[in-house]
């Protein structure tokens, strides 16, 4: 510290060295945008409420408690006073303390932790000033100090001075007298005397010693907060002699002060004295420990590795399921509930899990919307690259994406504040807190010895200590932690709740190292399967990619996991044949990859399906040509003029054509042939021009010249409106002289009022300008009836009814010429 005490935060900052300033800016990056011009500007910005709130959100629970204590302390505050607020008064001799003292070990821990916590606040620019003049920036004090509207975490009420702000000096003197203090000259010294009485160690104890039964009970209820209590007649002055109840006893002596007609409050100084000087019931100088549940590191790693393989496979399955175009993109973005269900069914997983894998694939850039007119989700080009990687690298890519993703699949299916359901891949799934929680939780797990798992509640308590959040955010964090633990388990980042060894390099930002450690744990891909006579094939481990791909086409998957069970069915074999394989190819493929001879029923199945495959052929033609004389057809095929018709011989007497029958007939006729059209039943069609008809239509209505004739009611209204407008426009205006330009009449407010009042007496009509609530100005002719409370009640000739006009909206008034007066 400089020898000269800084007087402002700016001066304090100015006195700090560059490193300290850098620390400040690192801790509060929001101060840098835009870069402040000078330290005064920096200090101003650092003292703004929004920025201070953000800074306070980043500190741990103990540091926050220190800030809260400073907020209820006097400003400025000495280090000793702060220490008392945190650790309590030491029960060293003298009167026994009024409140329960902090256990000695806890008090020692607080004493040890306090300088660091204070330094953290100072580094963040929330506290400044020297050891004996600690100042909390005003915005922080406003946020943290108790006020009637916002309860403080300390559970303390307002100080005597604040609580007696509206009290009459006479009443104050009564309280001072009843508290056993000499009378003072003014309210300020009275409150000071009271505060000193409560705060001083010698004052309160004797006072309470004389208290009747029940007083301590009332105080005990309020002392640790909330400090407000509900009573009847809080504001009725009570003298000590007249007090009958415990509350009245306290009210008479100022130990309770009225906070409203039905509420009383325990003033801060009294509460602190009763608490043994402490601002918090349980200061938390040290983070709550995380009890570790030991597991074998080997089991953890193997379990996680197994799960990692499943994770990679599941994502591959998502990509495969969407390979030929996935679900349509909703108009608002995202996947519909039905499509999610379908994908979940395809993956054989519950929907929330399916949503997780889809979001993961999206976060890793493996699927995206294709941006076409009928937009659908589909794998990206990156997915093809990913699919070629070895499993361990696929995994590290997925986990790296998961660690930093702000998208939160756990929210899928819940509703946003507007009641809209949140869909997978849809908008509003981003939660900036998500990667922070993931990171924090995994970092905590990483601190444990290898293979040790942690209790979820312990993790949550630790996260809460590390960074207390507002209640809304806290609920989200609890959810996020649960999701994180779940996701980490299914991703194989953790195994049985403990961080796997192969996940540690990822936390250090080394995906290659992670993949390197995972690789040896994964089972070696196999190049063979076991074929069985019940038409199943079992792959007793993961298969090499080409084999898995081919088997996936040739057989249906029955069971997944460490091994895969495939079943051959006629349909699956046909699928392989459709994909262009021949029966011989399939047979040799199975022979090559089976460790045992191919069972006879299986090879028979393949041959049997192949025998029938393709015996029926299907194609598209627009028309056909039939002729019993096949030489005519041969001639036609050879004719160059028939080139554009797309003719192809299907049988000796049948040709298929790729143009429609009408065009075909015309072209053939043009070639000098005489074709006849055939109906679907094979009859010759007789052609005759078709008469064309519209669907049923009603005849049009006659259109008359000019607008429709108005009815009587409409006419009456129109005439009235015209007359009223006319009157307003043509009145001869008397005093004060209206403007000639036909604008609103203007007159001073006093004149307006006088003219109105005169008109109520005479009953004459007036011409006024009036501005309505929407700000629209109009002119009206009114006959005032009453003027009271700033309003004129008058008969409005324009609207033909009695209305109320606000005087302050009347721009001016002018009397009508005698001839125009309707009355």
């Amino acid at each position: 510290m400089d020898t000269a005490e800084p007087r402002t935060l700016a001066e304090d900052l100015r006195a700090r060295d560059d490193d300290a300033l850098a620390r400040l800016l690192r801790a509060r990056p929001d101060l840098l945008t835009p870069v402040p011009n000078d330290l005064t500007q920096l200090a101003t910005r650092a003292a703004t409420r929004a920025s201070v709130l953000r800074a306070l959100d980043q500190v741990d629970a103990f540091t926050r408690q220190v800030a809260e204590a400073l907020a209820v302390a006097t400003d400025p505050c000495t280090y000793e006073a702060l220490h008392v607020l945190m650790a309590g008064t030491q029960a060293a001799g003298g009167a026994p303390p009024l409140g329960e003292a902090l256990p000695a070990d806890r008090a020692a821990a607080v004493t040890a932790a306090l300088p660091d916590a204070l330094e953290r606040l100072r580094a963040r620019g929330v506290v400044w000033g020297g050891e004996d003049r600690l100042r909390l920036v005003r915005a922080a004090r406003d946020v943290l100090a108790p006020s009637p509207a916002v309860a403080s975490a300390t559970g303390l009420g307002p100080s005597v001075g604040e609580a007696t702000a509206g009290m009459s000096p006479a009443r104050l003197q009564e309280i001072v007298a009843d508290a056993g203090l000499p009378a003072t000259h003014d309210p300020v010294s009275a409150t000071r005397a009271l505060a000193e009485l409560f705060a001083g160690s010698g004052g309160l104890a004797p006072l309470l010693g004389t208290a009747p039964e029940g007083v301590r009970t009332v105080l005990d209820r309020l002392v640790w907060g909330p400090p407000y209590g509900e009573v009847r007649d809080a504001t009725v002055p009570v003298r000590a002699k007249a007090a009958t109840t415990a509350v009245q006893w306290l009210l008479a002596r100022g130990l309770l002060l009225p906070a409203g007609p039905q509420n009383v409050v325990l003033p801060r100084e009294a509460a602190l004295a009763l608490r043994g000087g402490r601002a918090h019931r349980s200061p938390e100088p040290a983070p709550p420990p995380i009890a570790s549940v030991p597991r074998t590191a080997r089991t953890v790693d193997l379990t996680a590795a197994g799960q990692a393989l499943t994770a990679v496979r599941t994502v591959a399955e998502v990509l495969a399921a969407w390979d030929t175009g996935g679900p349509a993109v909703l108009r608002a973005g995202g996947v519909s509930v039905r499509d999610l269900k379908r994908t979940a069914a395809a993956l054989d997983l519950p929907e929330p899990q399916a949503a997780f894998w889809i979001e993961l694939a999206y976060a890793a850039g493996l699927v995206a919307a294709d941006g076409e007119v009928d937009e659908v989700y589909a794998p990206t080009p990156a997915a093809d690259g990913w699919a070629q990687l070895p499993a361990e690298q696929q995994w590290s890519a997925l986990v790296a994406a998961w660690l930093t993703a702000t998208r939160t699949s756990g929210l899928v299916g819940s509703r946003d504040p507007k009641g809209r359901a949140l869909s997978a891949l849809g908008p509003d799934l981003d939660r900036p807190l998500a990667p922070q929680v993931r990171r924090a939780a995994l970092d905590l797990l990483a601190e444990l010895p290898p293979g040790a798992a942690a209790d979820r509640d312990a993790l949550l308590a630790r996260l809460r200590w590390n960074r207390p959040l507002r209640p809304g955010a806290e609920a989200l964090r609890t959810d996020l932690l649960d999701w994180t633990l779940l996701d980490a388990e299914v991703l194989g980042v953790t195994g049985r709740g403990a961080l796997a060894a192969h996940a540690r390099p990822l936390l250090a930002g080394d995906p290659t190292g992670a993949a390197g450690r995972l690789g040896p744990l994964l089972p070696e891909p196999l190049d063979h399967v076991l074929l069985q006579a019940d038409l199943t094939a079992v792959a007793p481990g993961p298969l090499v990619a080409p084999l898995a791909e081919m088997l996936g086409v040739l057989a249906d998957i029955e069971s997944k996991g460490g091994a895969t069970v495939y079943r051959f069915t006629p349909a699956s074999v046909r699928r392989a044949l459709d994909a262009g394989r021949s029966a011989a190819e399939l047979q040799s493929f199975l022979t090559a990859h089976s460790r045992t001879p191919v069972p006879q029923p299986l090879s028979y199945l393949i041959d049997d399906v192949a025998r029938r495959h393709g015996t029926l052929r299907v194609g598209a033609a627009s028309a056909y040509l039939r002729c019993d004389d096949d030489s005519v057809l041969a001639e036609l095929l050879a004719d160059r003029r028939a080139n554009g018709l797309g003719l192809r011989r299907l049988a000796p007497t049948v040709l298929a054509a790729q143009v429609d029958p009408t065009a075909l007939l015309e072209r053939l006729r043009a070639m000098g042939l005489a074709p006849a059209a055939e109906s679907p039943d094979g009859d010759v069609l007789i052609t005759r021009p078709d008469a064309r008809r519209t669907p049923p239509r009603t005849p049009p209505l006659p259109v008359t010249d000019g607008p429709p004739v108005p009815d009587d009611a409409l006419l009456g209204l129109a005439v009235k409106a015209i007359r009223a407008g006319d009157r307003a426009a043509t009145v001869s205006r008397s005093t004060p002289a209206p403007r000639d330009d036909g604008g609103l009449p203007r007159s001073p407010a006093a004149d307006t009022l006088a003219t109105m009042q005169a008109a109520t007496l005479t009953g004459e009509s007036l011409w006024i300008g009036y501005v309505n609530a929407e700000g629209a100005a109009s002119q009206r002719v009114i006959a005032p009836l009453r003027v009271e409370g700033g309003y004129v009640t008058a008969y409005d000739h324009t609207a033909d009814e009695t209305r109320t006009f606000a005087l302050h909206r009347i721009t001016g008034v002018s009397t009508l010429a005698e001839t125009d007066n309707p009355s």
């Binding site: 195994g495 199943t536 997944k560 460490g562 091994a563 045992t596 006879q600």
Partner: protein, 542 residues
């Protein structure tokens, strides 16, 4: 590398050729159901029922998890382990027991569970007064019912109420010239230890002897329920031969005779006969203080018998079957009412021990003639199967097969009487069908056993429990659509071990490219899963 792969869908794949396979099989058998047993990899499934049965047999979750973790080749999915522990933990929260004051009571160690199940509409009519917060009275007659309902609710009750001994009656096995086979002994022990349950053994593996063994253990009056009269006679015959029981001690309760003796054999049919809305023969269950009730061919147990069985929970019950697959999916009812599976042996294992004959299963694909194909294509949907199953082409192939195996004892089995009559005519062989009298049937079977007849044409009356040890060749020409257990039972007809130890043949004649072929594929599934590989041959190649 170990031999077990635990899949996330709760199936366990066991590599049978592995050296540890036997140890692993023993470790997982208590809680996992054998689902398929083809040649290389057997599939077991972990089901809640299996886990609860394991708990009932005294295994705990720790043992199950240890078995999985020890033998698993890959890490066991954590979710599965958690699920196993949670499922097993549900067992025993509720207990059925005898209370000296209140009779049968349901007690709980977990009060919310009791509250939950008492709120169920299905439980409410089964229970009586609430004795205290943890105990509620159960109507003794609803013991089976409440167990079944609680099982469906996912809170299986541990039944500690025990069994009545029944009226004692001396029964001994008469093991002269033969002895119970090891697996039969294990089956009897498994059943007796568990109190009630089902024993699954292949056809021809001697289920009757397991029944006799159980009776000799119980030494009490016994009610035996069988499928039909012929089978009842066979049971009687077998019991007289294998045990100390004499003819006077064994009664037959069927359509023709109504004898009630210390050991009574009744048919399902007579029990389920309904007159004027009531079952007049139900009193049979109460006519004696039975110490043991035996259900033969439990997979055929008719629905009304399920209901009666629910009332018999205080008596020991033994179900016998070769194929616990029910096309109506009521396997779980069998388990909850008669009891869990107490013994199960894969067919191929018994075959390997030489107790049933090895069999060569052949599916013969017959090409229909063009006119037959046309007729098939135009047949009404409901007539299609009947048409393709009974075509003349199939008949000719069947005749060729019979001729090929001339001199061997051959059964021709079919569904449609017209077809069988026609075949009988062409083959010059007698036909046994529903209308054949019992006396006539027994006469023909006896002639077949003695070798006087070498070809017998039978309808589905011969599906079960007909003991024809010398049948070597079975030719199936049509069946009850896709019934898997029928196929297995029919194969069972030829599986009795042969005197000369030679192989049995089972032909299934199937019309190609028709619905017959689809049904055949479905029918064969059970046997294929038991490791019977069907060869498929074209009829033209024969």
């Amino acid at each position: 590398m170990s031999c077990l792969i635990v899949q996330s869908d709760k199936t366990l794949l066991l590599e049978v050729d592995h050296e540890q396979a036997d140890a692993c099989r023993r470790a997982i058998a208590p809680f996992a159901e054998l689902e398929r047993a083809p040649e290389h990899i057997h599939t077991y499934r972990v089901t809640p029922l299996g886990l609860w049965n394991a708990r009932a047999a005294g295994h705990d979750a720790e043992q199950v998890v240890d078995a999985l973790v020890e033998y698993s080749r890959y890490p066991v999915p954590h979710a599965l382990l958690v699920d196993v522990a949670e499922t097993m933990d549900r067992y025993g929260r509720l207990r059925l027991s005898k209370d000296p004051a209140h009779g049968l009571v349901l007690t709980t160690t977990d009060r919310p569970v009791l509250e939950e199940i008492l709120r169920s509409k299905r439980v409410q009519p089964l229970v009586g007064a609430r004795i205290d917060e943890d105990t509620v009275v159960v109507h003794p007659s609803e013991r089976g019912q409440i167990k079944q309902v609680l099982l469906k609710l996912g809170w299986p009750a541990e039944d500690l109420a025990g069994y009545v001994d029944g009226e004692a009656h001396p029964i001994e096995l008469d093991e002269t010239g033969w002895a119970l086979r090891p697996y039969q002994k294990q089956a009897v022990e498994g059943f007796w230890h568990g109190g009630s349950g089902v024993v699954v053994l292949p056809c021809g593996a001697g289920k009757t002897l397991v029944g006799a063994g159980a009776m000799a253990q119980a030494k009490a009056t016994t009610l035996i329920l069988v499928t039909n009269t012929v089978s009842a006679r066979q049971w009687k015959h077998e019991l007289m031969k294998r045990t100390s029981l004499t003819e006077e001690e064994i009664g037959e309760y069927s359509g023709t005779r109504k004898e009630i003796r210390p050991v009574t054999i009744a048919t399902y049919q007579v029990l389920t006969t309904k007159r004027k809305g009531v079952y007049p023969h139900l009193e049979l269950f109460d006519s004696r203080d039975w110490g043991l009730i035996l259900y033969d061919e439990v997979h055929l147990l008719p629905a009304p018998v399920f209901k009666f069985t629910a009332d018999l929970q205080a008596r020991r019950r033994l179900g016998l079957t070769a194929t616990l697959v029910r096309e109506d999916g009521r396997e779980s009812d069998v388990f909850s009412l008669i009891g869990p599976k107490r013994y199960d042996a894969p067919w191929k294992e018994i075959e390997a021990q030489g107790y049933i004959a090895p069999a060569d299963c052949v599916e013969v694909r017959v090409n229909l003639t063009e006119s037959e194909r046309l007729a098939y294509a135009t047949a009404e949907t409901e007539e299609k199967y009947r048409y393709c199953a009974t075509t003349a082409s199939k008949r000719k192939v069947t005749e060729a097969l019979v001729a090929k195996h001339a001199g061997q004892q051959t059964l021709v089995i079919g569904q449609y009487i017209d077809q069988l009559d026609e075949l009988g005519e062409h083959l010059n062989a007698p036909v046994i069908k529903g209308e054949t009298t019992n006396a006539q049937r027994e006469k023909l079977f006896e002639a077949f056993r003695q070798g006087e007849l070498s070809v017998l044409v039978v309808s589905k009356v011969a599906n079960f429990s007909i003991d024809l040890p010398e049948a070597t060749v079975a030719i199936q020409v049509s069946g009850t659509f896709g019934s898997r257990q029928e196929e297995a039972q029919r194969l069972g007809r030829v599986l009795r071990p042969k005197a000369d130890g030679h192989e049995a043949r089972f032909y299934s004649v199937v019309a190609r490219d028709t619905i017959d072929q689809d049904f055949a594929a479905h029918r064969q599934r059970f046997l294929a899963e038991q490791g019977y590989a069907y060869r498929i041959v074209d009829a033209d190649d024969l």
